[in-house]
């Protein structure tokens, strides 16, 4: 028929459009996204292979070579115990990424379930959840994280829990809003007619459509989570020594800046900043990748 001929010419251009092709397209489209994904690859590389590749044991002290400025032996200098800052910075990547990814994943899952239920069924469930989220939001979030950590003790798991708790409201609200505007959408109705139960409609039809805006939130939160962990370390509630972690290194190094040993804080700080920067810039690209409508 008439439209068939019009559309058949497009078919050829569709052929190469696999998921990879789509990702490549998204990357090419925006130089900033390209940059972000490049840096992400770098950080992931550090996380996976870093510990095997670093020149020094990140925990080994060497009092004789303490506080040396950057040199060929020690690219980022050494700290007050003579540990190699470069090795520590690289090795810390794994822990920092783990903390942020785990925390965000946890809050993503919990927030999504709560928010989706509230947005879909509404009513008292929605009202109760909203009040609960308001209550969490009414806490100064950083102080809440501190409190949780102080109460539970400062282990890596608890840092993850504390960070996850303060992030839940963001996801729950976002998902609630996204689900709410779609709960009476035509495709949701159609899915019901196709014999899907409410839960299936919610989980397999409505919720996936909330993913693109959530990806932006995820990327921002990945960055926040790292900053949050760093802030907790600055207060003294972070990861236990001598485990290398960027925040704790910046926090400890900060006291050395004025005395001229700038490399202690600046390199981990720079690394931390780059990682957060990467995550923050990632958002738009991630959103475009999970959004089928961006496929052409």
């Amino acid at each position: 028929m008439a439209e068939m001929t019009a559309s058949s010419s497009q078919d050829r251009s569709q052929k190469g459009d696999t998921s990879l092709g789509h990702i490549a397209y998204v990357l090419r489209d925006n130089p900033v996204t390209m940059l972000a994904f490049g840096m992400l690859a770098f950080f992931l590389g550090c996380a996976f292979f870093g510990p095997a590749l670093v020149p020094y044991d990140p925990l080994a002290t060497n009092a004789a070579r303490a506080l040396e400025p950057p040199s060929w032996d020690h690219w980022f200098g050494t700290d007050n115990l003579g540990r190699d800052v470069f090795s520590r910075v690289i090795v810390a990547t794994r822990l920092d990424l783990t903390i942020s990814v785990a925390a965000v994943a946890l809050s993503f899952v919990i927030g999504s379930v709560l928010g989706a239920a509230a947005g879909y069924w509404g009513g008292w469930l929605d009202a109760v959840l909203n009040r609960c989220l308001d209550t969490i939001m009414a806490f100064p979030l950083f102080v809440l994280a501190m409190g949780v950590l102080a109460a539970l003790g400062n282990t890596v798991e608890n840092i993850i829990y504390a960070t996850a708790i303060i992030n839940i409201p963001f996801y729950a609200r976002l998902v609630r809003a996204e689900v709410n505007i779609r709960r009476n959408a035509g495709f949701a109705q159609a899915a019901k007619l196709a014999g899907n139960s409410d839960i299936r409609v919610l989980a397999f039809h409505i919720f996936p459509n909330a993913l693109p805006p959530m990806m932006v939130q995820v990327s921002l939160n990945l960055g926040w989570a790292i900053l949050n962990a760093a802030g907790l370390s600055f207060i003294g509630l972070g990861v236990r020594p001598p485990t290398p972690e960027w925040g704790i290194m910046v926090a400890e190094g900060a006291n050395f800046i004025v005395s001229g040993e700038w490399w202690l804080a600046v390199f981990p700080g720079l690394w931390l900043m780059l990682a957060v920067f990467t995550f923050n810039l990632l958002g738009d690209g991630l959103r475009d990748i999970v959004d089928p409508r961006k496929r052409t």
Binding site: Q14, G186, A190, N196, R293, R295
Partner: protein, 542 residues
């Protein structure tokens, strides 16, 4: 007065440059109303934006001349253009509520224009703005001055948009699909108003529309556009009686009108004999005293106030009404997406209203009642391909899987005329007509006994509408389905339905065999609806 020569407009998009307008020429004389008719993507709106120089980002006039009253609009500075816009050339848009600033009082929006073009001072602007509202027949204009758009009805908003456009007495008014998004009776009122005002002021007008019937009723001359080119130019009468270009012929044929048959909408070369569908005496659906009341902020809202009717097996029933008539609520209750407040829905003698909508997906009747939704785009999950959309009911209800399901999907696609390669596409990669086909294929996948069609062609161009309507007719005959066809378009209902119901404010006001109701409307509301529908001149029999 307006002269366009060889205008070409291109857009930069992700896929490269797209030629939206490919060299068109047209003239509009003083006091003349020119209709530009074309289907979506024909470049008709872009033409008007180009001459106003308000193209969206990425759009660029590549070639051609646009002169208005001796001024070269293409060469004019942006500053001069701003003086021309709103004072010499004005525009009104589709979807009037969205066309108004939602957080500014309508009076102020008129005042902004008046002051901008030095038609009023700050002292008398309010007074002049009220006068402008009165000119578009807004009742109690002084009170409306302080209203916000959300406080006004759609028709009223369009009047405000017109008031803004006409506040400075422009010489040319461009009306871009001015009736889209309005109810049929409001459409007529708005168009009559625009026509009257243009005539009274001796104003030239360009009426941009997809509706050939509408254009023929209000325009002195019509140009037909397709793919960025003008394919034909003439008076309404000549266009309808003697269309030259095949595309015009197709368009004229496809426009539903009194006296047409469903097959006559199709281009002559693909017409086949209209199949006959058999209506049994056995009632398939028996709706009794159906009531739906919503809790509202200011008291309960009675959406449906006790509706009773029957659909016989194999029968097609048209359900006609304007927005707020309760027709959509009624159909959603029947398809079991909503629970009625009271009343019974007997399907094959079984009261399916007794099973709550939330648990109805496991009801055996689920597969027998399906629905085609109004907005094909909205009704397809953006994340699912066409194939998975069609397969969904089969896997959930019929329990089909694997190759069996794949074959059935292919079969259904064949049935609705959807080319196989398109099955792997996502909805946004499909055209409107293709999406409608996917929606239909999904609805008939389980071979339901009753199919509810909720304005299935409302968002489609007329030529596509013609194809889809014919597809529905074919399917009905082939599968013996009953239709509940919900629509506001009487011309379409007339073509498709055996019987018709007219609803207004939650009640059935008129009911009976289609020919009877349409031919001799008993209720004044039915008559008003029929009168409001634009009637193109009858073409010569093709």
């Amino acid at each position: 007065m307006l002269s366009i020569k060889d205008l070409a407009v291109t857009f930069k998009t992700r896929k490269g440059e797209v030629d939206a307008v490919r060299g068109i020429s047209l003239d509009v004389g003083k006091g003349e109303t020119l209709g530009i008719v074309g289907e979506s993507g024909s470049g008709k709106s872009v033409t008007s934006y180009a001459l106003m120089r308000i193209l969206d980002a990425g759009g660029e006039i590549r070639a051609g001349d646009v002169t208005f009253g001796g001024i070269d609009l293409r060469a004019a500075s942006e500053r001069d253009m701003r003086d021309i816009r709103g004072r010499e050339v004005s525009m009104i848009f589709q979807n009037p509520r969205a066309a108004l600033n939602p957080i500014r009082r309508v009076g102020h929006q008129i005042k902004d224009v008046l002051i901008r073009h030095a038609q009023a001072t700050r002292q008398n602007a309010k007074q002049k703005a009220i006068a402008a509202l009165e000119a578009v027949r807004v009742n109690d204009a002084a009170a409306r001055y302080d209203a916000y758009p959300f406080e006004l009805s759609g028709g009223m908003c369009q009047r405000v948009v017109i008031a803004i456009a006409l506040a400075c007495n422009p010489q040319l008014l461009i009306a871009d699909e001015p009736t889209t998004g309005l109810d049929i009776t409001t459409q007529k009122a708005v168009m009559d108003l625009v026509g009257d005002l243009a005539a009274a002021r001796g104003m030239s007008m360009i009426l941009i529309t997809h509706d050939l019937g509408l254009a023929s009723q209000y325009a002195d001359r019509i140009v037909v556009m397709k793919d960025g080119r003008i394919v034909e130019d003439g008076t309404p009468e000549t266009l309808f009686t003697d269309p030259q270009h095949p595309y015009t012929q197709k368009l004229v044929n496809a426009t539903p009108r009194i006296g047409a048959s469903i097959r006559s909408l199709l281009p002559a070369e693909i017409r086949t004999a209209e199949p006959v569908h058999k209506v049994h005496d056995r009632p398939l659906l028996d709706v009794r005293d159906l009531v739906k009341t919503y809790p509202g902020k200011s008291g309960p809202v009675h959406a449906v106030k006790g509706v009773s009717f029957q659909i016989k097996a194999g029968q097609s029933l048209g359900l006609v009404g304007e927005s707020g008539s309760g027709k959509s609520t009624t159909s959603e209750m029947i398809v079991r997406l909503q629970d009625p407040t009271s009343g019974h829905i007997l399907f094959d003698g079984q009261d399916i209203a007794a099973t709550p909508a939330a648990r109805f997906m496991r009801h055996p009747v689920r597969r027998d009642i399906q629905m085609v939704f109004q907005d094909a785009t909205d009704s397809l999950n953006p994340r699912d391909t066409a194939a998975s959309a069609i397969a969904e009911p089969m896997s959930r209800i019929a329990g089909l899987s694997g190759a069996k399901r794949r074959d059935r999907v292919a079969e259904l696609a064949e049935l609705v005329g959807l080319p196989q390669p398109l099955l792997s596409r996502f909805p946004h990669q499909l055209s409107g007509g293709q999406k409608a086909r996917v929606g239909i294929a999904r609805a008939i996948a389980l071979e339901p006994k009753l199919l509810i069609l909720d304005e299935p062609t409302a968002a489609l161009d007329v030529s596509i509408q013609a194809i889809v309507l014919n597809l529905l007719v074919d399917l009905r005959a082939r599968m013996g389905m009953s239709y509940l066809f919900v629509s506001h378009d009487l011309n379409v209902v007339r073509l498709l339905c055996d019987e018709v119901l007219v609803m207004k404010e939650g009640e059935i006001v008129d009911q009976g065999p289609t020919a009877d109701v349409m031919g001799a409307p008993k209720h004044p509301y039915t008559r008003a609806l029929i009168d409001a529908a634009p009637q193109p001149p009858r073409p010569v029999a093709a």
